[in-house]
């Protein structure tokens, strides 16, 4: 599955898996980790993960290099992602998280642009239609996982551009 994924140079650089003491270097390191996490999850279509999974995943555990990012450092990387809006904890114990390679607001913007472009303001959609319907096949948000989709729609709701409603067999959304 990881065949076509291109690891960045840092992934083969042993010290990348040690939290750097020099603050400037650490900033670069964390930025590279955040970038790597997002591209990895995007390619593997992974929208959520537990911290335990993360520890053993090739993402943080480079077996060939015999280096793995220690769990305390993984927590620091995850916190950086949370601050940037790409991660949300799914439980109080911070044992599992939602990872969004695009922030909810960005997804919301894309969805709303499609709605406007296709002249469908004031229409109602089921969540399924939005991400799995034929009409959206060419859109980037096609195939988006429900958790991320909901947050994208919530972001639009905040801007009064949409309203999440209940429809016959689940949830839907009305766009304004």
């Amino acid at each position: 599955m990881a065949m076509s994924f291109e690891w960045p140079w840092q992934y083969r650089f042993p010290p990348f898996f040690t939290l750097q003491p020099n603050m400037d270097t650490r900033q670069k390191q964390l930025a590279a980790w955040c970038s790597l996490v997002l591209s990895f999850c995007r390619l593997h279509k992974q929208s959520s993960m537990t911290v335990m999974e993360a520890q053993e995943s090739p993402l943080f555990n480079n077996v060939k290099l015999q280096r793995k990012l220690p769990v305390e450092s993984i927590q620091i990387v995850l916190e950086e992602l949370r601050k940037k809006g790409n991660l949300e904890w799914l439980d109080k114990n911070k044992s599992s998280f939602l990872i969004m390679w695009r922030r909810p607001e960005e997804w919301g913007k894309l969805i709303y642009q499609w709605v406007s472009r296709s002249g469908q303001n004031n229409s109602v959609f089921t969540l399924y239609e939005l991400t799995c319907g034929e009409d959206t096949e060419d859109e980037e948000f096609h195939g988006l996982d429900e958790a991320t989709l909901l947050r994208a729609l919530q972001a639009l709701q905040q801007e009064h551009k949409a309203e999440i409603i209940t429809v016959s067999d689940g949830r839907g959304v009305k766009f304004f």
């Binding site: 140079w9 083969r12 650089f13 042993p14 010290p15 990348f16 898996f17 040690t18 750097q20 003491p21 020099n22 400037d24 270097t25 670069k28 390191q29 015999q66 280096r67 793995k68």
Partner: protein
């Protein structure tokens, strides 16, 4: 006297027009030309507007090369802290010049860098194990630091034990140098290496040679 000078000038002009192409195209010719100039006490790069550089375009060539070198170093500074091997610099410069550009040798790079150094740009050239490290960011490196860099060149990393065994220094002196390299952003710390902490230099990490300059890094290079 002046008749001789006139003759000399005419010969030079002839030489210049005949060989201008050669100078731009041929690295070996440039070396020979430089050597010849040195023999008669002339530095063709001494001033941008001199007879030599105007007639032969030598100045332009090295000036352009200098600009390219600065661009590569700026783009990669983020990765290697401002320290790069001559090999990697050469590879990146050649890449940037594309298929149809004139060939550029390592000797050309050294000359261009010496020029940059003389202009006070913070460049310096550090000999290590048969080649050179080019420093483009004026980090403070004294003899102790340079010697440790030379030690690291073989494997891309260095340890306190390596330093003590090879250079016969006290632990404290070794640690101070390594701390300094970390502080200057030239080295990264690896605590998962077997035995003791390893200090790796991105500049020497051979694997990097095959890496393209990323879009982010290219953006960093713009003023």
């Amino acid at each position: 006297m002046s008749k001789q000078l006139d003759m000399f000038k005419t010969n030079l002009e002839e030489f210049a027009s005949k060989h201008k192409q050669e100078i731009r195209k041929n690295p070996e010719f440039r070396v020979q030309f430089q050597d010849m100039c040195a023999t008669i006490g002339v530095d063709p790069l001494a001033s941008g507007k001199g007879f030599w550089s105007e007639m032969l375009g030598v100045g332009d060539f090295y000036y352009e090369l200098g600009v390219q070198i600065i661009e590569v170093c700026l783009a990669l500074k983020h990765r290697n802290g401002g320290l790069i091997t001559l090999e990697e610099l050469h590879q990146q410069v050649l890449k940037g010049r594309g298929k149809f550009a004139q060939d550029v040798s390592q000797d050309d790079l050294i000359r261009a860098i010496k020029k940059l150094k003389a202009l006070g740009t913070g460049f310096s050239i550090i000999p290590v194990g048969g080649t050179y490290l080019i420093q483009s960011v004026p980090a403070e490196l004294n003899m102790d630091h340079t010697v440790v860099l030379q030690l690291a060149e073989k494997s891309g990393y260095v340890t306190v034990s390596d330093i003590k065994a090879t250079l016969k220094w006290e632990t404290e002196r070794a640690r101070q140098v390594l701390e300094h390299l970390l502080k200057e952003g030239l080295a990264w710390l690896d605590l998962q290496a077997p035995g003791e902490a390893h200090y790796w230099l991105p500049a020497l990490f051979t694997d990097l040679y095959s890496q393209e300059i990323t879009a982010d890094e290219a953006r960093e290079a713009l003023p």
